[in-house]
Subunit: 304 residues, 2 copies
């Protein structure tokens, strides 16, 4: 068997849903009615992960990042298409292990995709994933639906991924500390529990401040965050601004009508009111009443 | 604007369907009911295209290859998600030009995707596309539905892409000759016209012989091709075996009940009966009654 054939044979074990057609057909065929949500993330070695990271964690994160977008749309996952660049046996097998872990953890189905050869044996790997989901409300929420008077909420807390990243970089073998960076958990249950209540919603993948600014711009409002209300990981207690500008936390940022009860506030993950939506002013984002200082990084921008 | 922001601003002009949500949201949201077909192709510079090729043609081919999979499923295109690796201004703008050409030519909608930075400025580019389609029959055909007694058909002819590739490599500026390689046309209309008639169907992307063998293996039958019946491009008249083992033609390979009329036989693209489906014998593929000679390449295999 060629490298591709061996990989696909192993992948087939993970793609057991009838919609995958045993990975032998040109395409996956999904049953069902109603709207479908579709999202895609691509990750590049050296850009989105470090060359030395466990490929199993890379696979997990690729799945988690995509499912986080579905969570923001109140979706149950309907299926995944994987774009995989073949490598050596270690890369291929560890990637498959992490992919299997993530599929099982999030009850997601692998339906198809493509495998390609690398342009050179040592070329940085590039992998991608398309996630399809069925929203449990129609239409699913948008990040463009924030309106003045609503309150701004965040699930979980900021900075867990940054704390995990720094611990991993320092050589920590504390799995619980590094897990939020290595194996983030998309807020699928919270996303669905919020379906009836939320106005605007998005996931926080590039940093709370940058993503809040994007929500404000998409909605044509100003978002005022009270930084003292933003929960952060204990390791970042003295570096809150940094935690708020660091990506990879995959929490949900959402708005609720003024004074509305938050249906997930008392869940184990929890949610916290961190600000207010204002009519559009001169600035899209206010931190404690003032625009962010010039030069403050709000989050991670690709291509810079 | 960063490179990514400028590219996405241009991309937004191509993504005008409401399902794309202006490319400002986490995901695309598709309306409608009934089954959905999903497929993904990834292309790598130096593997799937040559470094010197016009990025506009690369974009076109990425779209065409994916839509060809939808054609094999009797689909109308429902939407595309692009995974794009940013490069210099020439790469970005020429790619966008070809993408726009293809979207217009095939009446396809760009709905979303992801853009990423390259791991290094001179790293080979990796791009991907997910295509979603609505099949006009439920369930859409599979490549696993070939049965003994059916006849085997091919749209168009073999070798047009190979002739175009060789002309391009030789420096030809004859656009009509090189177009089948640079700008293949997926057989969307034929795929839909065949919906009521076909038994098994797939697209020919890796070579007629290899793909016919795959259909035979998926269906548990033997496929007998009469090579004298296979239409080939005039430039390959003396190299028919090679033309039948070369990919990129994106024709449709399908089976019909014995003696059935082929509804697209008289279309401009046309279709030709090239063989017969037999009960599974010792070999999955027979050429003029004999198994392919050992060592004959049947087509393009990735990862070898």
């Amino acid at each position: 068997m060629s490298g591709e054939e061996a990989f696909i044979a192993a992948l087939r074990e993970l793609a057991h849903d009838p919609a995958a057609r045993g990975l032998i057909d040109d395409a996956a065929v999904l049953d069902g009615t109603g709207p479908m949500v579709a999202t895609h993330d691509t990750m590049v070695e050296g850009v989105h992960w470090l060359a030395g990271q466990d490929p199993a964690d890379v696979a997990w994160k690729l799945v988690a990042a995509n499912l986080s977008d579905l969570a923001a749309k109140c979706c149950r996952p309907a299926g995944l298409l994987l774009s995989f660049m073949l490598g050596d046996a270690h890369w291929n097998s560890r990637f498959l292990a992490g992919l299997g872990d993530a599929l099982a953890a999030f009850d997601a189905l692998l339906l198809g995709g493509d495998t390609v050869s690398p342009p050179a044996p040592d070329a940085p790997k590039v992998i991608g994933l398309t996630a399809l989901g069925r929203p449990i409300r129609d239409p699913p929420p948008s990040r463009a639906d924030a309106q003045a008077g609503q309150s701004l909420w965040l699930t979980g807390r900021c900075g867990a991924a940054l704390a995990g990243f720094e611990a991993l970089r320092a050589g920590s073998s504390d799995d619980a500390l590094t897990a939020p960076f290595r194996r983030p958990v998309p807020r699928l249950a919270a996303g669905q529990a919020l379906a009836a209540a939320v106005c605007a919603m998005m996931d926080v993948s590039d940093g709370l401040l940058l993503d809040a600014q994007r929500m404000a711009d998409a909605s044509g409002v100003t978002i005022a965050i009270e930084t003292r209300l933003v929960p952060v990981h204990p390791a970042l207690a003295r570096r809150k601004r940094e935690a708020m500008a660091w990506g990879d936390d995959y929490e949900l940022l959402f708005t609720l009508p003024r004074d509305a009860h938050c249906p997930v506030a008392d869940d184990p993950v929890g949610a916290t009111r961190i600000g207010t939506i204002l009519p559009r002013g001169a600035h899209s984002l206010l931190l404690d009443g003032s625009p962010p200082p010039a030069g403050l990084s709000l989050g991670y921008r690709h291509g810079e």
